[in-house]
Symmetry: C2
Subunit: 326 residues, 2 copies
C-alpha cells in the first residue's frame, strides 16, 4: 500500500469496508490517503462485522494519536441510505438488518460520518483524482464479482430515489437465456462479471473435462482473466464464455452511452480484461452508439487509480463533501 506524507493536521478518516479487508487511512484536504492500514473483515455475522469495523477504527485512531479527524467517510458494499446514514443491507457480507452506522460512529467517536456504497465512492475518487476530473458526465463501471456502475451527471452522482441507481449488471441486453439471480433472463452480470464467468465455467467443465479450464476449476484458482487467456489459446469452452461476456458488455455499454450520453466511460474492478476493453469494446461502442452519443464520448479508459486506495479516496472525498469543505 502506498503511503503519502502527512502534510496537514486537518484531516478526515477514510474507511473502506470490503468483504475480506477493511482499509483505513487518513486523508488531507486534497483527499490524498496517508498511513493506510489494513484490517481483516470479520464477516461471521452482523454483530461481529460492525464490532470489527468499530474496533479497527479504534485501533487506528489510538495508534495515530491526536489530533482527531474532522469526520469519517466510509465506503460499504450493498445498499446504503446516504441521507439517513444507514447501511441497509449487503449480500456478500451478511447485513440483514439495517445498521444506523453514522449514529453509531458519532456515539462512539464523537465524529460526523458520511457513508455510501463502494461504486459511488469509486466514482467520487474518479471525480477527485482520476479520469473523471475533467468530465462532468461520466460512467464508472466496476467489473468484479458482480457489475455495477457509478453514474455522474453534471458533476453529481446519480443516486436515484433510494441511492440504488447504477445497477447496470441487471440490464437485460442480450438474447441469452441465462437466468440471473434477479429472476430475469439475459442480464449482463451472469454473463460478463467475474463471478458470472466463473460460474459458467464451473458448469461447462462438468460435461467437458478436457477443457483447459478444468484444472483451474478443480484447484479453485479460476479467475475471469484465466478464461480470457485460455480463450485466446483456443479452448472452445473458454472461447464461448469469453465471447458471451464480451458481446453482452458491448451491448450494455452502448445502451448506457445512448441513455446517458457520457463524455467518458471508466472501468475498474478485479475482473476487467484490459485488452478487450481498450480494443474490441472501444471499437464496438464508437461504431454502434448513436452518432451524437459517439461524438460526445471522448474516451473509454481503465481507471488509473490504485485499486487498494480508490475506496479510501472516495470515502475521504465524501467526508469533505459532507463537511461542506470541497
Amino acid at each position: 500500500l502506498s503511503q503519502g506524507n502527512e502534510s496537514s493536521r486537518d484531516y478526515v478518516l477514510g474507511v473502506d469496508v470490503g468483504g475480506t479487508n477493511i482499509h483505513i487511512g487518513k486523508a488531507n484536504r486534497d483527499c490524498v490517503p496517508l498511513k493506510v492500514k489494513r484490517y481483516a473483515t470479520d464477516a461471521r455475522n452482523q454483530e461481529a462485522l460492525i464490532a470489527g469495523i468499530m474496533g479497527s477504527m479504534e485501533r487506528y485512531l489510538a495508534e495515530a494519536g491526536p489530533p482527531a479527524p474532522r469526520a469519517v467517510g466510509m465506503g460499504l458494499v450493498g445498499h446504503v441510505s446516504v441521507a439517513e446514514g444507514v447501511w441497509e443491507n449487503a449480500i456478500n457480507i451478511s447485513v440483514t438488518r439495517p445498521v444506523p452506522l453514522c449514529a453509531t460512529i458519532r456515539a462512539k467517536f464523537g465524529l460526523p460520518a458520511y457513508i455510501d456504497n463502494d461504486v459511488n465512492m469509486a466514482a467520487l475518487a474518479e471525480m477527485t483524482f482520476g479520469a473523471g476530473k475533467s468530465h462532468a458526465d461520466f460512467a464508472y463501471i466496476n467489473i468484479g464479482t458482480g457489475i455495477s456502475a457509478g453514474l455522474v451527471s453534471n458533476g453529481k452522482i446519480v443516486t436515484g430515489a433510494s441511492n440504488y441507481a447504477g445497477e447496470l449488471g441487471h440490464m437485460v441486453c442480450d438474447g441469452e437465456e441465462h437466468v440471473c439471480k434477479c429472476g430475469r433472463k439475459g442480464c449482463l452480470e451472469p454473463l460478463a462479471s467475474g463471478g458470472g464467468m466463473i460460474e459458467m465455467a464451473k458448469k461447462a467443465v462438468q460435461s467437458a473435462r478436457d477443457s483447459s479450464l478444468a484444472r483451474y476449476v478443480q484447484d479453485g484458482s479460476l479467475h475471469a482473466g484465466t478464461i480470457f487467456r485460455e480463450a485466446e489459446k483456443g479452448d472452445p469452452i473458454a472461447g464461448s464464455i469469453a465471447e458471451k461476456a464480451m458481446s453482452a458488455l458491448e451491448n450494455a455499454v452502448v445502451n448506457l452511452v445512448n441513455l446517458m450520453n457520457p463524455s467518458l466511460v471508466v472501468f475498474g474492478g478485479g475482473a476487467i480484461e484490459k485488452d478487450f476493453i481498450l480494443n474490441r469494446l472501444t471499437d464496438f461502442v464508437y461504431q454502434n452508439a448513436l452518432p451524437v452519443a459517439a461524438k460526445g464520448l471522448q474516451g473509454i479508459r481503465i481507471s488509473a487509480l490504485d485499486p487498494s486506495l480508490v475506496g479510501l479516496i472516495g470515502a475521504s472525498r465524501a467526508a469533505w463533501d459532507g463537511l461542506g469543505m470541497t
Copy 2:
C-alpha cells in the same frame, strides 16, 4: 386547446415546434399557458422551416400587442445544444445544418431565448405541474413515432455531455433479431414505438393479406392502438407485433428502473397503450426490478398533462429557468 386567464403582464413566450404544428402561447410565472395559437410547420426545407417559426412568432406577438414577453422558451425535435442555443439537427423535419436559433431570436425580437428538445421540455412540464412535481428522481418516457426519455436526477434533467441523454429507444433489450435504423439488433424503438409497430405490420401483411390489419395498412389509417385492439380481438399478426412490443418495453423499463432507481415513471406520447402500461407493464416491473429499486418506485403513470400543452409548459419553464426566475 384550453386557455387560462391572463393573470399577469409579466410573461414569457412558449413555442413548441413539432413536425406538423407550431404551438405558441404566453405563460405567466406559474407556467400556465395562455392564449395558445396553432400555426402550420413549413417543413419543405430548412430555410422555410426557420422562416416559418420566426414568422409565426412575429404574427403571434403582433396580435398579442405590448408588453413584450420577458423571454422565449422553445421546444424542438432532434438534437439541441442548450448552452450554445443551437438546433444541431433533426431528422423528421429536415434540419441538416446547425441553426443558431437563440442568436436568431435575439437578433429579430431582442429577447433572450432558451431552447431544448421536446422530451426534456415534457420532463420539465412534469416537474412543473405533473406527476413529477413531488418526485426528484423520475423518468418521463415518450412513446410516439419513436421512443425517448427525459431523465430527472435529484431535480435536474440528466443532459449528458451533448444534451443527448435519454435515447432509451436505442437500448438493446431483447433477443429479437430485428435490425434498427441505428444498426444494432434488438433495440426497443423498432419493436415498441408507434412507428416501429406500424413498420412491422406493413411488412407482415404483405404475406398475410387476410390479417385484419391489412385494410388499415391499405387506407393509411394504421395506428399502434389499432394493432393492440386487433391483437385483443385475436388477429395473430397483430398479436405477435403487440407481444413483441410489450415484451421489449417490459425489459427496457426494468433495465431503466434498475439503472436509474426512479421513484416514478411517467409515460406520454401518442402511441402509449394505457391498459398495457397500467396493468401488465406495471405488474412486470414490480415483479422483475431489483427489490430495492422496486421498493423505491412509487408508481408508473400516464401523464395527466394535455398533450397539446405539455411542450408549451416545458418551454415556458425553460424560459423562466433561463432567466433565473424559478
